[in-house]
């Protein structure tokens, strides 16, 4: 075993209304990858923020390279050799990839001039190492959220660090990108770095990590080599109880066709014909950039439709804004909750009812607070959202709990068609199952559900029918019985069926 780089002991941290960490330990060893797992809101991100000095700890000690330390802020911990890739991206969309990577550390010549060529070359090399085929001169805003995540990773690698922390790095990555990241992590391990890896994808933990630290409700539960655990026992330690079948598929008699697109075209979408019936879940698979999100945004009126039409219950509808879509009974939960879904500064309550406020107010505009409060409390309970109260700002919730609020917000509009774009991204195993069960409840009530997901087991486990997209077109369609991972992947890369 390598030597201990970093040791945290008895860490405590409270926020108004919440004790987020309560006596947590963590050890990072050179040449080993430490997984940090726990349910949404268990305190993983908070622990990392305490570690890097973003938050001040209330109690506990921190030993780094044999010395007791307290970092006053991320700049200090960064300088000492601890890099972190945060769960929430912190990049500037108007700057180039290279400028983002070297922000604040631009190399300058003798006249104070930025050495652009050197910067671009170094950035290009980093991108190549991560298997990204983009020029580092590209404006960051042009990248998809997955690629942006890779830029964050490139940035962390560009520092001379001993410890690299990754908070749910694969959340928005495709399988290929994830593989590229794993190659990098293996290289880091060989080069004697210490790595902390946070993820809700347990399979990844078994693939890439050596040890695991488990948290539950802010408390330290266990630290052990991954080899001593099975997926089941790990889940049990995380949630404190056994979980049965992860994908509780139910059979529901299919009703009439509820939503249909007829040769729908939009930016990145080419003549797509998609059908969803009442009580049906249609999974939409494909690689990143296949046009799935673009299609959904076009149906929802967030992106302009350039051809074809949308038919609901046999009637052609005109949708040019999200308002039209919501009025037609379509709800859309975006994959990018921070940019498109939530208003981080507003409370859980205000976010949840925002799209459905008409249901909670008088025609003249007066809001019925009691009615609103009851509905929100009920959703907090059914979704098991961890928040001190409905008045908490959504930005203070853990990532997974934010996602639950985003889904609840869509459901509050009582839609007939529910479009979920990567709904379980960043959601823990237990909560995932809760979300699946909720989706099933709505399915039983006759809701039509479109499930866009890059999580193959999820698509296979939940959908009645699976549609695969490639370069803006539908390249394959399967019933649940005939689909499997290989055939879907084949269609996703462009083989038609």
């Amino acid at each position: 075993m390598g030597n201990e780089l970093l040791k945290l002991e008895g860490i405590e941290k409270s926020f108004p209304g919440v004790k987020a960490l309560d006596g947590v330990n963590l050890t990072v060893t050179a040449g080993r990858v430490m997984a940090l797992v726990g349910e949404n809101g268990a305190g993983k991100s908070t622990l990392m923020k305490v570690l890097t000095g973003i938050y001040k700890r209330d109690a506990g000690t921190m030993t780094y390279l044999g010395k007791k330390v307290t970092f006053k802020g991320p700049a200090q911990s960064q300088k000492a050799g601890i890099s972190i890739i945060h769960q929430e991206l912190n990049l500037l969309p108007e700057l180039s990839i290279a400028e983002n990577i070297f922000l604040g550390r631009e190399q300058v010549g003798s006249l104070g001039n930025i050495l652009w060529n050197r910067m671009y070359t170094e950035a290009d090399n980093l991108l190549k190492r991560l298997g990204i085929s983009r020029s580092s001169k590209t404006r960051l805003g042009e990248l998809g959220i997955g690629e942006q995540q890779m830029v964050e990773i490139a940035k962390a690698l560009s520092f001379e660090s001993r410890v690299i922390i990754m908070d749910e790095p694969t959340d928005a990555l495709t399988d290929t990108e994830t593989q590229a990241l794993f190659t990098v992590i293996n290289e880091l391990r060989d080069a004697d770095y210490g790595v902390v890896y946070i993820s809700h994808r347990l399979k990844e933990i078994f693939d890439i990590c050596d040890d695991v630290t488990i948290l539950r409700d802010g408390k330290f539960i266990a630290e052990m080599p991954v080899a001593e655990l099975t997926e089941e026992t790990m889940i049990e330690l995380m949630v404190g109880r056994k979980l049965e079948e992860q994908y509780p598929r139910i059979a529901v008699a299919k009703g009439n066709v509820q939503l249909k697109t007829d040769n729908l075209s939009a930016d990145g979408v080419n003549e797509v014909c998609l059908e969803v019936c009442e009580g049906e879940i249609v999974g939409v698979a494909g690689l990143m950039g296949a046009g799935r999100t673009e299609l959904m945004k076009a149906i929802f009126g967030a992106n302009p439709v350039t051809g074809g039409c949308i038919i609901i219950n046999g009637k052609k509808v005109h949708i040019s804004t999200p308002k039209d879509a919501l009025e037609a009974g379509i709800a859309f939960i975006s994959e990018d909750r921070k940019a498109d879904g939530l208003i981080l500064g507003l409370s859980v309550k205000e976010n949840m009812t925002l799209a459905a406020l008409k249901h909670f107010s008088h025609a003249a505009g007066q809001v019925y607070h009691a009615k609103e409060r009851d509905a929100v409390n009920q959703y907090i309970e059914t979704f098991n959202i961890k928040t001190p109260s409905r008045k908490q700002a959504v930005g203070n919730l853990s990532g997974g709990n934010q996602q639950k609020v985003a889904i609840a917000k869509g459901l509050m509009t009582r839609p007939k068609v529910l479009i979920l774009d990567e709904p379980t991204r960043g959601v823990d195993v237990g909560a995932k199952k809760e979300i699946y069960q909720l989706i099933n409840t709505f399915k039983k009530e006759g809701m039509s559900i479109i499930l866009v997901s890059s999580d193959m087991p999820e698509i296979l486990g939940m959908s009645d029918r699976i549609v695969v997209m490639h370069e803006g077109r539908i390249s394959g369609e399967f019933t649940a019985a005939e689909a499997d991972q290989e055939t879907i992947m084949a269609c996703a890369v462009g083989k038609t069926r």
């Binding site: 507003l346 205000e350 925002l354």
Partner: protein, 316 residues
């Protein structure tokens, strides 16, 4: 996850604007016994009313992450319109209604330019500020418009100089404006949407909300309230000055910011703005009572605002 109660100290810190106001009142009362008298307090409230009414509209605009620099010019134009109608001996209700409507139209058009034309609020209202000031000078020919010495003018004067139950009418107007704004922001859909828009415009649009309309509404409201302030000023002086209201946007913005509303939008309260406006009002009065020369008053006011904002950012 254990739930904890908010401690008393955190609650107190949240009320720092109130504490600042009370501290100021206490200190000045000790320095000058004439300060804390009913007469003087009512006087301060009356003097605060104009800025406070404008600051209410400004709060809504700033909550949407916008800004309105045109308030002072609208005040002057609508004051002049009101004065000329009174001078023409039209009924007070007609003069007031026309003046308020003009404020709504000017504000609404600015809002349309911002929402539909995608012009930045700073630029659009800066243009409006100059343009409307120009219109006022043209309309008044650069001279004050007197409301005259008719019965109509006398009843119009009540708006700025009258008393109701011993309290000046402008103070009543201010109170009603704040109550209305408080209700709108906390108990109506529009209020909720104003906060949402300032917090995240994309997410608000994707929630099926017509964000353009919200923007137009807030600038129209700001316009109406500027016109109302213009009526108070005109009524008090029995005449409309073409240069009235110059620089008032800064006092209004200062009141909003002192009240803890974020210029980034989405965060803030109307109560905070009331306290902010009161602080500025009390400060002006206190500096007068303490015989500080008007040049030094400006400096002192600026420093107090700076201090308050610094304390605010520090405690975040």
């Amino acid at each position: 996850m254990t739930i904890q109660k908010k401690s008393l100290s955190t609650r107190l810190i949240e009320q720092k604007t109130l504490i600042a106001l009370l501290a100021m009142i206490l200190v000045v009362s000790l320095l000058n016994p004439n300060f804390f008298t009913t007469g003087n307090i009512l006087n301060i409230l009356r003097q605060t009313a104009v800025n406070a009414v404008i600051a209410v509209g400004m709060t809504m605009v700033i909550l949407t992450a916008g800004i309105d620099l045109s308030v002072g010019s609208i005040l002057a134009l609508c004051g002049a319109i009101g004065a000329s109608l009174i001078a023409a001996e039209l009924p007070v209700a007609v003069a007031v209604g026309t003046s308020l409507a003009a404020g709504a139209i000017v504000g609404g058009v600015t809002g349309i330019i911002i929402a539909k034309g995608k012009v930045q609020a700073f630029i659009a209202t800066l243009v409006a500020m100059t343009l409307v000031r120009g219109l006022t000078l043209v309309y008044t020919d650069g001279r004050p418009i007197s409301t005259g010495f008719t019965d109509v003018a006398d009843s119009f004067a009540v708006i700025g100089t009258g008393y109701l139950f011993g309290v000046p009418v402008p103070v009543w107007i201010m109170a009603v404006t704040f109550l209305g704004a408080w209700y709108l922001l906390n108990h109506t859909r529009l209020g909720r949407y104003i906060y949402a828009l300032g917090g995240n415009e994309t997410a608000t649009r994707l929630s099926g909300i017509n964000v353009d309309r919200i923007k137009i509404y807030v600038y129209a409201i700001s316009g109406v309230l500027s016109a109302l302030a213009g009526l108070i000023v005109t009524s008090r002086l029995s005449s409309a000055q073409p240069t009235a209201g110059a620089g008032y946007e800064l006092d209004a913005i200062a009141a909003v910011v002192l009240g803890g509303t974020s210029l980034m939008g989405g965060k803030g309260t109307i109560i905070g703005t009331l306290l902010g406006a009161l602080i500025i009002g009390f400060l002006n009065n206190a500096l007068n009572l303490l015989d500080v020369s008007s040049y030094y008053q400006m400096i002192a006011k600026a420093l107090v605002i700076l201090l308050a904002v610094l304390i605010d950012t520090k405690s975040k």
